[in-house]
Symmetry: C2
Subunit: 468 residues, 2 copies
Amino acid sequence: MENFSEWFHEILEKAEITDSRYPIKGMSVWLPYGFQIRRACLNIYRDLLDSEHDEVLFPLLIPEEELAKEGIHVKGFEDEVYWVTHGGQKELNEKLAIRPTSETAMYPMFSLWVRSHIDLPIKQYQVVNTFRYETKHTRPLIRVREITTFAEAHTVHSSPEEAAEQVETGIEIYKELFDEMGIAYLISKRPVWDKFPGAEYTMAFDTIMPDGKTLQIGTVHNLGQTFAKTFEITFENKEGNHEYAYQTCYGISDRVIAAAIAAHGDEKGLILPPRIAPKQITIIPIIFKDGGEEVMAKCLEIKKSLESKGIRVQMDTRDIRPGKKFFDWELKGTPLRFELGPRDLKNNVAILGRRDTGEKIEISLEDDLPSKVEDLLMEIEENLKAKSWKAQEDKLITLESLDNVGEIVDEEKVVKFYWCGEEECGKEIEEETEVDILGINEENIKTDKICPHCGKPAKHVALMAKTY
Amino acid sequence: MENFSEWFHEILEKAEITDSRYPIKGMSVWLPYGFQIRRACLNIYRDLLDSEHDEVLFPLLIPEEELAKEGIHVKGFEDEVYWVTHGGQKELNEKLAIRPTSETAMYPMFSLWVRSHIDLPIKQYQVVNTFRYETKHTRPLIRVREITTFAEAHTVHSSPEEAAEQVETGIEIYKELFDEMGIAYLISKRPVWDKFPGAEYTMAFDTIMPDGKTLQIGTVHNLGQTFAKTFEITFENKEGNHEYAYQTCYGISDRVIAAAIAAHGDEKGLILPPRIAPKQITIIPIIFKDGGEEVMAKCLEIKKSLESKGIRVQMDTRDIRPGKKFFDWELKGTPLRFELGPRDLKNNVAILGRRDTGEKIEISLEDDLPSKVEDLLMEIEENLKAKSWKAQEDKLITLESLDNVGEIVDEEKVVKFYWCGEEECGKEIEEETEVDILGINEENIKTDKICPHCGKPAKHVALMAKTY
């Protein structure tokens, strides 16, 4: 697509994902079709989390005192927090923050719940809306003032090893999530100046958008004991001594849905991976003057047989010409189309159309149609995923020198380079090139390369990109 | 239970439903076990709504200008609205209200979406948190400042008849919802002075709590054209003329869960209807020194066979004595308990314990256990529902005179009486008796009774109660 930004804006509107005409900048409405995609994504997410986390729900509002407790953390959010100052006509005794994220809502409660090592680990998650008073240009699903789908997990452990292991678990969960949605990703350890406010270190997932800019789609933070010390989360260990707990947190947002839309869509509209498509196949009866009833009856029969196998099916019986129906469902990204006309029925055949490749496949009505459809959905899923990873591969370039990195990222590339990893050097690189260092993609590797900026021995492979 | 209020407060804490120690009054945390109950309730709700409504999601914040547009409506909420005045360190140009309900968030968008009669009807719902700055005594799930589970439906129609019909549909949906949770209810048309601000009329569901006070658990409003006129929701009708649309809205909240807890619980703790129980049966292996392995193996086998039928099963293998396990799961309200010890296994028998009746049923391990359990779960559901309706029947009393109504409601009764239905008379009754008129339970009946207050001919059966 020529202009991704424009395409993205238009597709949200035309495919009825969100409506951004809501009268507050940076806040949009989830429309019915978009909401169904969101629900399917959340189902995958919950399935992944539920096996070892408990879902909970904490209040939206946070007393100023709690928010302010963790100094580094609050500094990271102070320009972005919305404040509630009045209840009815009265001024409140204490200002209340609308959560920008939930550490300061949850951890005072963790402090009450954790007494002994037998109370640990705690692994909880919640799916909530969070708020950031963004002053930059907003963009639906990507940079918003109300993050409507903030899926945040928080864990508490009795040892630093267990917390570090949980970070790895968090990464594995997100890998699986993105894999199921066919989204390619880059994992990196964020530079110290770009980690989560209060974290020891931050692992991040970025995906490369069609315009070559990267979008952060998930983060996993090792919080160490920072918040435990601030919020007095202590436990009695096996030896009977009191110790501060070790924590992690990890989160994703609406951006995951933006990434899925961006990764797979084309000029005709959305292409939805079968796992998150509200309907996986659209049946379109081709009705002329004659033979309509038989075609409809057959289509209904097929719909039932597909549904009995758990396939999500819809039948488009609107009184409009088939071409318009094809157009609509291509726009909305339904993975498969099934066409049947009177002549097809006579010949005992039908057409299956793939949204991802545009391929039309003639099938016999004697075939085991549910199996055929299941196989095709699987193929589509694999194809979308492979295409997305191939697109990422094509956009990655390894540089020996950073002299032209600005021009190279302008050509929609994401840059890998061998780096010393030092903060001072990294900040200089960012300042001179005006390109962001995403972080360290491969840590502590053996190499005889040198850092192209400072000339010291390189220790890591790092990533640079223009970012959203 | 002797003191319901105390019992309710304790059960929420002991059964780990919510934690009300969150540092803002009237805002609580949903704990893992409570959240699972909430999730099961929402699953029932969504199943009921999805067949003819679209789920959507609108922003939390509402510009002051929109909230203020509908005069009667805003007056009903002005003392209760939380106001956001600052973003970061800056004062906002326009104050933003945190939704107390979503009419004024949704209807400006409806105005954009509705053009012609072919755009109608719209039937949407969302499940969100809403906020009321309550100055009265707060109580978890019942009177809160953050309503965490506000499930609100909004519909738009092209005729008043269709809107009136939708009110009936809304009532039917809620009947089914409460029936599935075994909650008895009274339906009444709220007095004009107690209808939803902006509505033509309000139909309400109340349940009688164990202390005889009624709790409003659902409302269905016919909005007529009030909001359509305010928010310019117009459509071109079939004759080509422009007309204001007709609207309804209906909602339930966390109170539904409070009602289920209150309706079925006893001194030992929760009794959960099988439909909303996180686990429907707890398997408790009774392990002594010998024969432990065989018992465990058999229990696991039974767990699998029950799960294969979609029954939600847990096995309590904690290393504590069985009595403590019985106590814990009675407290948490699991409908059935399965006990198996080594001697039972030798005799090929086991015990099923019903939480609702306390009954212990000896069964043969040769029986078709999944069918047996399914039947019992069904029986428990029916029994809880019947008990709840019986309890309501016992608390209802029909009065010919309102002289002692104050004393009678203090004896935990809800009063029916024949009423003229006039506003002036009703307000006088409420003032003199200090008891609320819930509304008209049977409208426009044929009767030769007279109104006990004003002496005019009675037209309706009305309800009076102390209310939450």
